[in-house]
Subunit: 487 residues, 3 copies
């Protein structure tokens, strides 16, 4: 029976890839749903509301500059660039899937962002007095974070799914993320400023599980399109560099004001710098001529940022950050050389962008580093006030100790992994249905399936010549036509 | 007579495109004029002046952070990126006009910015005590805004004009903009934080009118160069994404401090997100295989930002922003499919980048949305203080009411359109003169006319081989040469 | 003897380019050294330390927003983009050295940044109470500045050296920079906010001297790879524009809070704008058809930013900035047309990116402008407080006068040049050793030496056809395979 179904599914495929009904239907319905839900639930936070002026007077807040907007907006814009240009261009490396890489990244981010505002709002920003979600700058940042986890997942299935499948994947991904985030941050009270666990661990294993469920035994039929081109590799470097440069903003965007944000920036930058060097080391060692592999430079150099996410605002110390980056550069690059082929061969997990190496493994390291750093926290290192504010030992958690906190951090990592794997298998099963218009095995990684692709470079040079030859002739010709019109 | 003239004009063209005298002459003279005018008129504002230190003490301003610089500089830099990278790369899509797209965009922005500082300064920042224009961070932002309107106009004539024509177009465009802006914002007292009317409506119709005046009946002779290439479309996505990501900064850059800026950011981001989804919907529906068209993704996704410009800092409400974005994504994409061909066929308006779809129509929607939102403003929604500060009901306009304001907004839109169309026809007439070195009909959209273009990709692979073959041979050869020199 | 050695060196070369041992060794050892040194010396500054919270209370600082982080972080991120994307993509113009341009730029920046934190820390941020270097946001900015000088030097030798040589060059470059910076800023007490002298003059002449020491008489053997491609020129514009746009942040990043930063921004932007126009003027005049040369637009347009670096925070006045930019656009473009060929032909200095035109000459102009502007400073122009704070006439320098300061500025320029030339000759001599695996003369500017380069564009179109032809056939085939597995 299963075989019959999968047989049908495959037979339908070549005809199926026309998403002219399904894609517009999904986008229209969901966007209208967003408008309705926003109308019912979403309002401006006090800081985005003109009443803020009266409010400030009442609470004698000295000045506009105290508005959280000025603490967080620059970081928000950096995160924003990471989501749309960073992730988008990181996925342009395939020789004929650059449109899909940057274009679908754009589509699902724009949708996911709206859905994330709602999902996270219900959990974190619901004003019980009037049942409305009050959004400010921090909600925008968190929504972009939430979207990031789905983009990581996209990296694992890049080129093998239809835009409709991506929309479904994002809808469920955002939902799972919001629940998982609430459990980890609020119930378990783990800290995760840069989202090593909440964003990267969840996103990577969510994507990998979906990729496992959608495994294509005959993917080698489109192997000819799986490589990169000289120029597409340069495009990818745009994505890599914007991710790398703005990662300090990513890890510090929602950290505590003042020293918390600055500390997160320092730790992240140092960790990233170290992983660049070790990536080069392993990449060169693994090539028999000592040549560097662009795939490693494009991805493994970012591992340090992932791994320092949780501990970014802790007292990891500068040398600690360097050590984390050092190790993750090594782990991540070795992952590209040995783990990715292993996963595909033995576990039937095809990982197009190697998210397991860039996000998966470093995220686990990051979770562990976070747990250890938290467990080792002391009043002498953080100061009395500092310890409380950094780990937020307030309210119900007044009696927490660093040691306990370490345990909670570890628990948080486990929850993230469970949600990622469990959710991925569930959603993967749904995406197996033969109704989503995904491409045939021999037509993956091919923009021509979902995009109008322009003619190729080949066709220019002759034209240019033609143009030069015809110049005088056409000029004369055109004169008569125009003169004719002037009468 | 007219026919004879146009006949001559056309005959001259092929010889004419040498701008070796005209371009340097224009740039040199105008740059020297700028230096002189800046010397006479432009000084630093108090906040950019070291006297600021004494001033602060006198006015006991608590701290440097109160300097407007820290409220606006991050937004300024985002706007800056939109002007040079955003607009610049958005115009690189043509297969052989990428140099002209990004290069001339760079040139006219750098000139326009200087001229805008003067023109806007005379109207808005003139210190009557000493007759000097005092410039600070807000002047820089407004000058970039002013430049934006000319870059929009450039989009309509991209590839069909000479750099000299562009300089003239910019000179007049900036001048008209400054007058129109003064009338709309100061005399009519319309609010337009994001410049839907002042920037986009004016810019689009200014460019379209010029394009109408410069209509080329035989443009199909260079149709072979009007298409895009796979990689040039990816370059264009860089422009699209930077415009899209930083649009919230564009609409909030000169909004009121604090809640005004934050509200503008939220509204703009939501509107943009919605237009991404509806652009995909229409793009897919309009293709018989349901395939997406890159042109739509590159442009129509931005319509939401244009349309929410005027109302960005009003209480549009999050769902209101989504509705605006939803509609404009639809309108703009349909514009690319149906309106652009119509304009060319029946109104003799050739619109290279489709600015009518991306800026023109959404700007009109934006003006109307702004008028309606203003007219519906209530004290309960804005708060007593909020209403006054948002709509600036102070000074001569102390007695304004929201209803009246709505009327003024509508009036503002009309003024913007009149200036755009009227000014465009005027300037277009000037640009028709046969002295500007514009390209022949069969040579439009071709960088070779104004740029030294490097050889083509074709020529590499053989070289590489050659290189490998010759390696040992050359190495030996070179040794002897060098040894010879050592004697 | 020398000839024998050089003969050996050349013979070895073709085998030598395998850096599989040397590159990983250097990166590993140096990164481990960094970790150890950071462990011994580097700690968080008070503003990045949680004790900050207690500290604030003690010193009743009103709010987190007073943290220097919020004054400088947006500028830091802009500088950061200039280092990695700006310089990186500026070096992608060569038709087959884009990987090396952006990739090695990435590697040496990541290493140089760490080493700079230590070197500059020892000179500027050492806390003598505990012998630790306390790093905050300003240290990060200064480290990026320090890296910039080495990237400028890289531009002179682009394509002709191995990554190992680059690492050595960076190690010594950073060291020299830190000493030179200490002498110029602290001992001589010259002001140099934008680093015209400290960064650009030093970096340019450091690189040029190295290039002189590594002169290759037979470089013409790889002349076929020295040109650019249409698309690689567009990539380079990404670098150019991000450098150009963010240069105001570069020159203002460490300027005085408030008016100092704003003034630096205004001066820099104006100077840059003027140099764009004059670059176009000269570029067009120097071409017999009046065509523009992309090389000039990509580089000379930035000269204005270099030249205004030292005087950026002085009262240069807006028109003064325009004049500086005007002159440097001319000088720099003429440099590309006449000076670069002269240097290569007569002084045996091959300057791949023309750093002498973009950084060298404008930096000297900048140093002189700075000296003159300082010497002409008056209390009436700066205000009593302003003069003292702008030139930091405090402590040991309480009795300085503007005239004296002018002299010190000039002295600073000389020191920078001496360190650049002297250091470059020294380091160049070291890099001549035949152990660094640099490429053969006929194999320079070729990524294939150090990178795994993907196949070429040529190979796609046939594949696409193949793909369409084979579609049905493969689809059927694949079904059976999968069904087979289902059993």
């Amino acid at each position: 029976m299963g075989s019959v179904q999968s047989f049908r599914k495959l037979c339908d495929r070549p005809k199926n890839t026309n998403v002219r009904i399904s894609l517009p239907a999904v986008c229209t319905v969901w966007q209208i749903a967003m408008i309705i839900l926003f109308g019912i639930f979403i309002r401006y936070s006090i800081e985005a509301d003109p009443h803020w002026i009266d409010y400030r007077k009442a609470n004698n807040i000295s000045s506009d500059i105290e508005n959280d907007f000025y603490y967080r907006y620059p970081s928000f814009q950096d995160v924003h660039v990471m989501i749309y240009v960073g992730f988008g261009f990181l996925m342009t490396f395939l020789k004929r899937y650059s449109f899909g890489g940057v274009g679908f990244n754009f589509l699902i981010s724009a949708f996911g962002f709206q859905w994330a505002l709602l999902m996270q709002g219900w959990f974190h920003s619901l004003d019980y007095t009037d049942g409305k979600i009050k959004i400010g700058i921090e909600n925008l940042i968190n929504a972009d974070f939430c979207v990031a986890s789905c983009l990581i997942a996209y990296g694992a299935v890049l080129g093998k799914v239809s835009p409709v499948q991506l929309m479904v994947m994002t809808l469920f991904g955002i939902t799972l993320y919001a629940v998982e985030e609430y459990i980890i941050l609020n119930l378990i009270h783990a800290k995760d400023a840069g989202g090593s666990m909440v964003i990267h661990a969840f996103g990577a294993y969510y994507g990998l599980s979906i990729s496992y469920m959608l495994y294509r035994p005959n993917l080698d039929q489109s192997s000819r399109l799986q490589g990169s081109l000289y120029h597409s590799d340069v495009f990818t470097m745009i994505g890599t560099l914007f991710l790398w440069m703005f990662w300090p903003s990513f890890n510090s965007a929602i950290a505590n004001h003042g020293d918390g944000q600055l500390r997160a920036v320092i730790n992240t930058y140092l960790s990233l710098a170290a992983s660049v060097l070790t990536t080069v080391v392993i990449s060169s060692l693994c090539n028999k001529h000592g040549k560097l592999d662009m795939v490693h430079i494009q991805n493994a150099t970012l591992a340090g940022g992932v791994a320092v996410g949780t501990a970014a605002e802790f007292m990891l110390m500068p040398y600690g950050s360097l050590i984390v980056g050092f190790c993750c550069g090594v782990i991540s690059t070795l992952g590209y050389v040995y783990v990715t082929p292993f996963l595909e061969k033995h576990l039937k997990i095809h990982d197009t962008c190697g998210v397991h190496n860039l996000h998966g493994m470093p995220a686990i390291v990051g979770g562990i580093v976070g747990a250890v750093t938290a467990a080792c926290a002391t009043e002498s290192a953080y100061g009395t006030e500092g310890l409380i504010s950094t780990f937020d030992f307030t309210g119900d958690f007044k009696n927490m100790t660093p040691a306990k906190q370490g345990g909670h951090q570890a628990a948080g990592l486990c929850v993230a992994l469970c949600f990622g794997i469990g959710g991925g298998i569930l959603v993967g099963a749904i995406l197996r249905l033969p109704i989503w218009g995904d491409p045939a095995d021999d037509n993956c990684f091919n923009d021509e399936v979902y995009w109008e692709v322009p003619e190729d470079e080949e066709s220019i040079p002759p034209m240019i010549q033609y143009n030069n030859h015809m110049q005088r002739k056409d000029a004369l010709a055109s004169n008569f036509t125009l003169e004719h019109q002037d009468h």
